[in-house]
């Protein structure tokens, strides 16, 4: 099996799906599932391989290089995994919606182009795949076609284009200077380049990757895009697509520049990595507090995507073996639980007829138990409770920050977690707990094909939380590949003299204590079940259907912090957009449509040229 075959299957499958859709809907759905499964299986076969091979493409003499190593494999397997689950989820979620051929084609095409970005070994094809990914994402964000969806799409594509143009400048500059775009050759050549130039290149690429990764202050496209996209695609968007930015950073920071060169990029106390760490810290806290104020289920998750990106960059930019491993592991964990949570939000939308407003839901635990369990496991992972995968990666990041003398960074990371508890609980409480409103009396659990992705991802959250050694083995290989020393990993976590982590130990303790306490509880007198209206109200009459506390769940806090949390960056961008629009409108006024006016412009311009010639005789 070869890498070309993998890409051909991925892209060819996407196109074929589109044309099969013209024949029959069932055939198209079946083929889409099979295709994404085939890509998943094929990708998993590449585990542990190190391939680098040029493919004759004969285009301007630039060779098209494909490569596969542990870093590529790690990102590739998350892409195809979430892609597969998302297609399964779509079968029922997207049923009876229009433009389905287009939807399946675009989803598969995005997955294929994402796969392309991580599998290519030269920057030109990287850029081409990157652009294919960006443009098709735009098409799918605006899939719903209403004003908000189109606005979100436009916002995304403008920021994304700015990012890729900056990247293009960097690529051209590299080609002009070194005459090659192959990553392995660049990695050796750039070591000899002047430091200033290296920094310039790194900053260009970092801006591009920060936009797609939604780091503050480039985060503004993400909440709109994630909220407006259809849920299965929100999952892909949040779990893997934005993390292509992290892949780009790995590529440039550690695989092209390398650790030694990176450490030299330092001016006094300010280092390139230090700046990135602080951007991460700001992103974490800002996003966590903003998420508190949201009342739209998918917007909360979108903001949490922004915030979790902060943890990754904090770990990765800190440049220690443990930190990079923690950041990398966090990418995987985030991919699992945010994918899960978007599936949950989608399930709620599906069952309640498209409700995303957290203020009008409640009590759905009795109607949708599987989704509830998915939600609670997902939120636990997001918070990073022990026994979920999120805990292990966060533990590694915190430990790095504390023991390497950056307590303030650690503080911001911790604070973000406490913000996460608040909005995570709000997410669960407002949807599943509290009283069930009467209009949702007939809500049903989602069909099995939508439960399946939720169940699989929930199992993974727990599995990787109790046995983190499985993914950490891969992460450790990546670490060494990028030039860090190898960590001492066992099945239950990390072993080291300065405080080891043993998750199996914690798991056993919690399990045993939980069972004992549970048995004690069972031993007590059996309880009678009552309905939700049988409540203690301190003697007051209970108005049915209005006795629920969900709206403005954290009101005292939001009144305090709201005024400090104005998204000035977004306001600035919007103002800039308004300004550009005004200027454009002003210029358009010149085009009056009267031939007389145009002749006048020509005459005035000629007169101007003649004046210049008479005065200074420049021509």
């Amino acid at each position: 099996m070869t890498l070309e075959l993998l890409l051909i299957v991925a892209f060819g499958g996407a196109f074929l799906t589109y044309f099969l859709g013209k024949i029959s809907g069932k055939l198209r759905n079946g083929f889409a599932v099979l295709n994404s499964l085939a890509v998943l299986v094929m990708t998993s076969f590449f585990y542990g391989m190190n391939i680098e091979k040029p493919v004759a493409f004969g285009f301007f003499d630039i060779t098209f290089v494909l490569r596969m190593n542990m870093v590529s494999w790690f990102f590739a397997i998350t892409i195809v995994g979430i892609g597969f689950l998302s297609i399964i989820y779509s079968l029922r979620y997207m049923q009876n919606k229009e433009k389905l051929d287009y939807y399946y084609f675009t989803t598969l095409f995005i997955n294929a182009s994402m796969l392309g970005t991580v599998l290519c070994g030269d920057l030109l094809s990287f850029f081409i795949f990157w652009e294919m990914m960006s443009w098709s994402t735009y098409l799918l964000i605006s899939y719903r076609g209403n004003d908000r969806a189109v606005f979100a799409g436009i916002k995304y594509i403008i920021m994304s284009i700015i990012g890729s143009m900056v990247m293009l400048v960097g690529i051209i500059s590299l080609y002009v200077n070194f005459g090659t775009l192959e990553i392995t050759e660049l990695a050796t050549l750039i070591q000899l380049a002047p430091l200033g130039y290296t920094l310039f290149i790194l900053i260009l690429f970092s801006i591009s990757f920060a936009v797609i990764n939604a780091f503050w202050p480039f985060h503004t496209w993400l909440p709109d895009a994630h909220a407006e996209a259809v849920s299965p695609f929100s999952s892909i968007l949040s779990a893997v697509l934005v993390r292509k930015g992290m892949y780009g950073l790995y590529l440039f920071m550690y695989m092209i520049l390398g650790l030694d060169l990176l450490n030299k990029l330092r001016f006094g106390v300010i280092s390139f990595n230090g700046v990135f760490c602080w951007i991460g810290a700001i992103t974490i806290v800002f996003a966590a507090l903003t998420a508190l104020l949201q009342s739209d289920s998918k917007r909360i998750l979108a903001w949490s995507t922004v915030g979790q990106g902060g943890y990754m960059i904090l770990g990765v930019a800190f440049s220690t073996a443990l930190g990079v491993a923690g950041g990398t592991f966090h990418i995987l964990n985030h991919c699992i639980y945010i994918g899960l949570l978007f599936f949950v939000a989608g399930a709620i939308e599906y069952s309640t007829g498209g409700i995303r407003d957290l203020d009008s839901l409640g009590g759905l635990i009795k109607k949708m138990p599987v989704t509830f369990i998915g939600a609670i496991i997902g939120v636990s992972g997001l918070i990073g409770l022990p026994l979920t995968c999120g805990f292990v990666s966060k533990w590694m990041i915190y430990k790095t920050l504390i023991l390497n003398g950056s307590p303030l960074l650690a503080f911001f990371a911790f604070l973000g977690t406490w913000g996460t508890i608040l909005y995570g609980y709000k997410f669960i409480h407002n949807i599943f707990l509290g009283q069930l409103p009467e209009e949702h009396e007939n809500v049903k659990e989602v069909p099995f094909s939508m439960q399946l992705p939720i169940i699989i991802l929930s199992v993974l959250v727990i599995l990787f939380g109790v046995l983190p050694g499985i993914p950490l083995k891969v992460v450790n290989v990546m670490d060494t590949y990028m030039g860090f020393e190898s960590l001492n990993i066992n099945l239950a976590g990390v072993v080291s003299e300065t405080g080891a982590l043993d998750t199996i130990n914690i798991f056993m303790v919690i399990l045993v204590v939980f069972v004992i306490v549970g048995l004690l509880f069972k031993a007590g007198r059996k309880s009678r079940k009552t309905d939700q209206y049988d409540n203690y109200a301190a003697g007051a009459a209970i108005p049915k259907g209005r006795y629920n506390y969900t709206v403005n769940f954290y009101n005292p806090l939001s009144t305090i912090i709201e005024k400090y949390l104005k998204d000035v960056v977004d306001a600035f961008y919007m103002k800039l957009t308004g300004f550009v629009t005004n200027v454009g409108d002003g210029i358009r006024k010149l085009y009056t449509g009267y031939v007389g006016n145009y002749i006048m412009y020509i005459v005035v311009f000629l007169a101007f040229l003649i004046l210049i010639q008479l005065r200074w005789s420049v021509f």
Partner: protein, 311 residues
């Protein structure tokens, strides 16, 4: 040996939790010139409540409560008890995260009851927690940075020969900050916001009766135990008494004495807390946040800056 520890430590913690609650009621009564209930009243209540009729609101209503009590017991197992720490893996970071299980369990459980008073109580509890976590995290990070370890047991061991953190210069500011937020951690007045009996029918506890109430009471007692134990272990040297029992080190008697010393220290700190409780009315949540984010946070921040400078 470890089996005995695993059984004994939670029992000591639970008994101490109940003792704290009994003492609380007795001391408050005496301060208010009443006679007050006997100190064993909470224990008597719990035994009585186990035999009472109860209503339940669903699966999570029960599972959340079990999770909450189990989580708190697990935290007790991770805290140093004198010279003994039953489980050390992951250090203070694990303790910090395990401490979430208690409140989250209660929140999930009483959230399902559908009583808005409970929901308001939980909302307040989380806000208060966010309030005191700001100074508390700064304090914990200061301690961990100063001793350059994430292990709680290690911090206690270092204090035994370098002197208590509370008395040493760079950690004094952090210690003051921790003391200033201690009432909020213990949930006593002026921070009795989440369980305000007169405003929101005791908040999260509103729907609990019988064995539910018993479990929630036990959990509350453990929560007090954890808050106090963390303070004493981090700042007052844990089970160390100026090295007075050094000759009994590593013997059974030494371990026992260390536990006794630890518990006495906790009782003394708690007594101070009760006096604060008696002297103050209740804050509103905004007032609490304003307080927690000014003086204690300033002290904690100053503490961490000093430690970052002095190393």
């Amino acid at each position: 040996m470890i089996i005995v520890q695993i059984i004994l430590v939670p029992i000591i913690a639970l008994v101490m939790g109940l003792l704290f609650m009994g003492l609380f009621r007795k001391m408050m009564a005496r301060i208010q010139w009443r006679y007050g209930p006997p100190i064993t009243q909470p224990l008597i209540d719990i035994i009585r409540m186990f035999s009472q009729k109860t209503v339940t609101h669903g699966f999570m209503f029960e599972a959340g409560l079990v999770l909450s009590l189990a989580g708190s017991i697990v935290v007790a197992l991770f805290l140093p008890m004198g010279n003994i720490t039953v489980f050390e893996t992951g250090g203070l970071l694990v303790v910090l995260y395990l401490m979430l299980l208690g409140p989250l369990g209660i929140a999930l459980s009483s959230g399902e009851s559908g009583n808005p008073n409970s929901s308001i109580g939980i909302s307040r509890k989380f806000l208060l927690a966010l309030g005191y976590e700001v100074p508390m995290l700064l304090v914990l990070l200061a301690v961990m940075t100063h001793y350059n370890t994430i292990s709680l047991a290690e911090i206690v061991r270092i204090q035994a020969y370098r002197g208590w953190s509370f008395g040493s210069f760079p950690l004094l500011l952090s210690g003051i900050a921790y003391f200033l937020i201690l009432p909020a951690i213990l949930g006593i007045r002026p921070f009795e916001i989440a369980g305000a009996a007169q405003e929101i029918s005791s908040g999260p506890k509103a729907e609990y009766g019988g064995k539910f109430m018993a479990f929630s009471t036990l959990q509350h007692g453990l929560q007090e135990f954890i808050g106090l134990s963390l303070f004493v272990n981090l700042f007052l040297g844990g089970g160390d008494l100026f090295g007075l029992f050094g000759m009994y080190a590593n013997t059974f008697l030494g371990n026992l004495l260390a536990i006794v010393v630890l518990l006495i220290k906790m009782l003394l700190v708690f007594a101070v807390g009760v006096c604060i409780n008696a002297a103050f009315p209740r804050f509103r949540i905004e007032q609490a946040l304003n307080y927690l984010w000014t003086w204690p946070s300033l002290f904690a921040f100053a503490g961490i800056v000093v430690i970052m400078i002095t190393g």
